[in-house]
C-alpha cells in the first residue's frame, strides 16, 4: 500500500502557477468576451439576471457531472445510463413520497440508489470489464434504453410535479431574484463536491478507489479488493445521480425523459472540467450554464438563437488547448 500512496501523492501535488494562469485564462476568457458583449447594451440588470440564471442551470449540470466524474474516477467508464438511473430513482422517490415525508424519502431513495448501482455493477458491468472499451459504452447505452422504457412502462408518460426540500419562495439579491431552490442546488453541488474531494484525497478507502481506476492489477497486488471498489464506485455515483435527479425534477417536472438534455450538458461539463476532477465538474457546469445564458441574451446576428453552439464552441476550444479538460490531471489512457 505504501508504494501506491507515494505514487499517488506525487501525482496529487498542487497545480503549477503556469497551469493556473492558463486555465484561468481559458475558463474566464469566453466569459469575459460574452460579458463585454452583453454589457455593451448597457443593461446591468439584464446581465446580472442572466448570470444568476446561468449559475442556477449550471449547478444542475454540475451536480450530474459530479456523478459522471465519480464513475469515471472509480471505474474508468463513461456511463451513458447515468441520467436514466437517476431518473428512475427519482420515480422511486416519488413513490416513497406518497407514503412518507420528504425527510425520510430522500435517505431511503439514496439507499435504494446505492443498492441499484452496486447491483448493476455486479450483474452487468462486471461482464464487460475486460472487453474493449466501446463494448462498455454500448452496455451503458443499453442501460439507458432499459431504464427509459421501464419508467415509461411503469409510471406512464404524464409529467408529475416534484417537491423541493428547500424553501418554495424566492430570494432577492440586489436587483435580481433567485429561487431558494436554485441556491440550495448550488450549495448542494458545492457540498457534494467537497465531500467527494475529501473522500478521494483524505481517506484510505478513497485512495483504494483511485488506485483501482488507475491500475487494477497493481491495486490488487497491494491488497485492494478491486471488485468491491468498483461496486462501491457505481453505488456512490448512482447515489449522487439520484440526489441530482431529485433536485432537477423540481425544476423540470418528473417525466421519463427529463434527464436527456441535462445529461448532454452534464457530459460536456464533466469533460470541460476534466473527467477525473470533482471540482472541475462544478467549474465546468457553472461555466457552461453562464456562457449559454449570456450568449442567449445577445441580439446581434441572432446569436441568442444559437446559444448552444456558442457554449459547445467554447468547450471545444478549451479542449483543443487543454486536451484533458480544465482541471484534469492527465489525458485519457484508453480509447
Amino acid at each position: 500500500m505504501s508504494v501506491l500512496v507515494d505514487r499517488i501523492s506525487q501525482r496529487a501535488q498542487l497545480f503549477k502557477p503556469t497551469e493556473v494562469i492558463s486555465w484561468l485564462a481559458l475558463a474566464f476568457g469566453p466569459l469575459l468576451l460574452l460579458s463585454v458583449a452583453v454589457l455593451a447594451e448597457d443593461d446591468w440588470d439584464l446581465y446580472s439576471q442572466q448570470v444568476a440564471a446561468g449559475l442556477a442551470t449550471g449547478s444542475l449540470y454540475a451536480i450530474i457531472a459530479l456523478a459522471l466524474v465519480l464513475i469515471y474516477r472509480s471505474t474508468d467508464i463513461v456511463n451513458f445510463g447515468q441520467g436514466e438511473m437517476a431518473m428512475i430513482c427519482t420515480f422511486f422517490a416519488w413513490s416513497f413520497l406518497t407514503r412518507m415525508d420528504l425527510v425520510f424519502a430522500i435517505p431511503l431513495t439514496l439507499f435504494v440508489a446505492f443498492m441499484m448501482g452496486a447491483i448493476i455493477e455486479i450483474v452487468v458491468i462486471r461482464r464487460v470489464e475486460n472487453a474493449p472499451v466501446l463494448n462498455a459504452v454500448i452496455v451503458t447505452l443499453g442501460l439507458f434504453v432499459i431504464f427509459n422504457g421501464m419508467a415509461r412502462w411503469i409510471y406512464g408518460p404524464i409529467p408529475r410535479p416534484f417537491p423541493t426540500p428547500f424553501d418554495e419562495g424566492n430570494v432577492d439579491i440586489g436587483s435580481i431574484t433567485v429561487a431558494w431552490h436554485s441556491v440550495g442546488v448550488f450549495a448542494t453541488a458545492l457540498c457534494v463536491s467537497l465531500l467527494l474531494f475529501l473522500f478521494f484525497q483524505k481517506t484510505k478507502l478513497g485512495l483504494a478507489v483511485r488506485a483501482t481506476a488507475q491500475n487494477p492489477v497493481a491495486a490488487r497486488l497491494v491488497g485492494v479488493r478491486v471488485n468491491r471498489m468498483l461496486t462501491l464506485g457505481w453505488g456512490m455515483s448512482s447515489m449522487v445521480g439520484a440526489l441530482a435527479g431529485m433536485l432537477v425534477a423540481h425544476i423540470l417536472q418528473l417525466d421519463f425523459n427529463f434527464m436527456l438534455t441535462v445529461l448532454i450538458f452534464a457530459f460536456a461539463a464533466a469533460v470541460l472540467g476534466g473527467l477525473d476532477s470533482p471540482a472541475g465538474a462544478i467549474l465546468g457546469g457553472l461555466l457552461i450554464g453562464v456562457v449559454e445564458n449570456l450568449a442567449g441574451a445577445l441580439e446581434f446576428y441572432d446569436i441568442g438563437q444559437i446559444k448552444t453552439v456558442v457554449a459547445f464552441l467554447a468547450i471545444v476550444t478549451v479542449l483543443v488547448i487543454r486536451p484533458s479538460g480544465l482541471l484534469g490531471r492527465h489525458g485519457a489512457r484508453r480509447v
Binding site: 454500448i138 443499453g142 441572432d302 448552444t308 480509447v335
Partner: protein
C-alpha cells in the same frame, strides 16, 4: 469439394473461396439476389420491405464510414449525424438553389455532398488530433448538437430554409431505358428505383472500404490505432493519416445522408438526423463487429430490423407470414405474461393509479437487454461471433486475443501468421515480410 473431417467449417469455406468456379457462382448468385430477388421478387418484397432495405443500405454506408474511423483508426465520433445532415443539405441546396447559379444533376449533387463531407471531416479532424476517448466523443457530439441549430439560424435561413427545411421535389422514377427492367406498378417502380439508387452506391462503397483497409492507408490506420508511438516510429505520418481517416469517414457519412434523403424523404429538415442517429451508428458498428466492413452492414441490418422483430415479439398474436401471404397465427405467450405482470402482479406504487404505459413501451427495455446480452456474449459483435462459430479461428485462439483490449487485434491476427516461402523458411508476416534473399540453387537430385 466436400468438407474434410480434419477441417473446420471456416477452413472449408476458405478452401472453396479459393476455387475460381465456386467464386464465380457465388458472385453471380449474390448479385442476382441483390439486383433481382430482393427488390423484384414480389413474394419477398412488398413496398415497405423494399423501403426498409433502402434505409438499411443508406445506414450501412454511414456505418461503414464510421467504422473506418472508429474501428480501424480508433477515433470515436458521435458527430456523424451532423455530417450526414450537412451532406443532405449540401445535396438539397445543390439541387434546388444550385451552386454558383448552376443547379446540379442529382448524381453530381451527391458527389458534391461527399466533397462537402470530406471538407468538414478535415476541419474536425485537425483539432481532433489532440483529443482521445471521452474528450473526443464530446467534441464530436458538439457537432451533432450544433448542426441542426446552425441550420435553423435566421442569418442563413434564406439558403437552408430555416426550421422548415428544403423541399426537394425529386421524382424517383427510373430513366426510360430501365423502366422495363425495373417493372411493376408505378409505386413499386418508384420504390425499386430508390432501392437501386441507394443500394448500388452502398455496395460499391463497401467494396472500396474493404479494399482500403487492406492497402497502405488501412494498415497505417490500424497501426496508429494499436500504438500511435509505434506507428510514428515506423515512419507513418500520424497526423496526416488520422485526418485522412476523418475526412474519408465524413465523406461516407455525407454521401449516406444525401442518399437517405434522396431516397425516402422528399424534404430535409434540421431534425432529419439527430444525436440519436449518431448513437445508432455507433451501436451498429459495435454490435456488428468493430473494425470489419461486413460487421458494419450487419449492425445496420440489426438497427433497421430490431424494432419490427421486437414489436412482433410483443404482439398479441404471433403471425408467421411470407410476403403478403399470411400462413398462420398463434397467441403470444409473452404478451400474456407481460399482461399479467402489468395488470395483476404489478406493485401499485401510488394510491391513485394514473394511466400507465402500454405493452409497446417494453420495446425499449427489450432492445437494451439485447444490446447488453450481445455485448456480454459476443464481445466482437455479430461478425466476430460468426467467425467463431464458422471456426475461422478456433475457440482457443479467440480466447488468447480477448485480453488485448482491441477487437481489431483478433481480426488482424490472420495477417500475423508467418508467411512461408517455397522452401518452408519463415519470411515474417504478411504485412511485414523480411527481405527476400535469393534462393539457393537447387541441387540436381532435388529437381522435380
Amino acid at each position: 469439394m466436400l468438407r474434410q473431417p480434419d477441417e473446420s467449417w471456416g477452413e472449408w469455406a476458405r478452401r472453396l473461396h479459393r476455387n475460381d468456379t465456386v467464386r464465380a457462382i457465388v458472385t453471380i448468385v449474390g448479385l442476382a439476389i441483390f439486383i433481382y430477388i430482393l427488390p423484384q421478387w414480389s413474394l419477398f418484397s412488398p413496398i415497405f420491405r423494399i423501403t426498409q432495405l433502402t434505409n438499411l443500405a443508406g445506414l450501412a454506408i454511414i456505418a461503414i464510414g464510421l467504422n473506418l474511423l472508429t474501428g480501424y483508426n480508433g477515433q470515436i465520433s458521435l458527430g456523424h449525424s451532423g455530417i450526414a445532415l450537412a451532406g443532405a443539405y449540401a445535396m438539397g441546396i445543390a439541387i434546388t438553389i444550385g451552386i454558383a447559379g448552376v443547379e446540379l444533376h442529382p448524381i453530381l449533387a451527391v458527389l458534391f455532398a461527399g466533397a462537402v463531407g470530406a471538407a468538414i471531416g478535415i476541419l474536425i479532424g485537425i483539432p481532433a488530433l489532440r483529443l482521445t476517448g471521452p474528450y473526443l466523443a464530446i467534441a464530436t457530439l458538439a457537432l451533432a448538437i450544433a448542426m441542426p441549430i446552425i441550420l435553423k439560424w435566421n442569418q442563413i435561413s434564406d439558403v437552408t430554409g430555416g426550421a422548415t427545411g428544403i423541399q426537394l421535389g425529386i421524382n424517383s422514377l427510373p430513366p426510360e431505358f430501365l423502366e422495363d427492367f425495373v417493372g411493376g406498378t408505378p409505386e413499386e417502380q418508384a420504390a425499386r428505383w430508390r432501392y437501386y439508387v441507394v443500394a448500388f452506391p452502398a455496395l460499391i462503397m463497401g467494396i472500396i472500404a474493404w479494399n482500403l483497409t487492406r492497402t497502405r492507408i488501412g494498415r497505417a490506420w490500424v497501426a496508429i490505432r494499436d500504438s500511435e508511438v509505434g506507428a510514428q516510429q515506423m515512419g507513418i505520418n500520424v497526423g496526416f493519416y488520422k485526418t485522412l481517416a476523418f475526412s474519408i469517414s465524413s465523406a461516407y457519412a455525407a454521401i449516406g445522408g444525401a442518399l437517405i434523403t434522396y431516397s425516402n424523404l422528399s424534404f430535409i429538415s434540421p431534425e432529419s438526423f439527430t444525436l440519436l442517429d449518431s448513437i445508432a451508428y455507433l451501436t451498429a458498428i459495435v454490435v456488428g463487429g468493430l473494425a470489419t466492413v461486413p460487421g458494419a452492414a450487419l449492425g445496420a441490418a440489426f438497427i433497421t430490423f430490431q424494432e419490427e422483430i421486437i414489436d412482433w415479439t410483443l404482439a398479441d398474436e404471433w403471425t408467421f407470414a411470407i410476403g403478403s401471404h399470411m400462413l398462420f397465427a398463434i397467441p403470444s405467450p409473452l404478451s400474456y405474461i407481460f399482461g399479467l405482470i402489468q395488470n395483476e402482479w404489478r406493485w401499485e406504487p401510488w394510491p391513485n393509479p394514473e394511466p400507465a404505459g402500454n405493452i409497446q413501451d417494453l420495446r425499449l427495455p427489450i432492445y437494451g437487454l439485447i444490446l447488453i446480452l450481445v455485448m456480454t456474449f459476443m464481445p466482437y459483435g455479430f461478425w466476430g461471433f460468426f467467425k467463431r462459430i464458422a471456426g475461422w479461428r478456433p475457440w482457443k485462439e479467440y480466447g488468447r486475443y480477448r485480453e488485448s483490449g482491441s477487437a481489431g487485434a483478433y481480426f488482424d491476427q490472420r495477417l500475423r501468421q508467418p508467411v512461408l516461402d517455397r522452401l518452408g523458411r519463415n519470411r515474417g508476416t504478411w504485412s511485414a515480410q523480411t527481405p527476400v534473399s535469393p534462393d539457393p540453387p537447387l541441387r540436381p537430385e532435388e529437381e522435380p
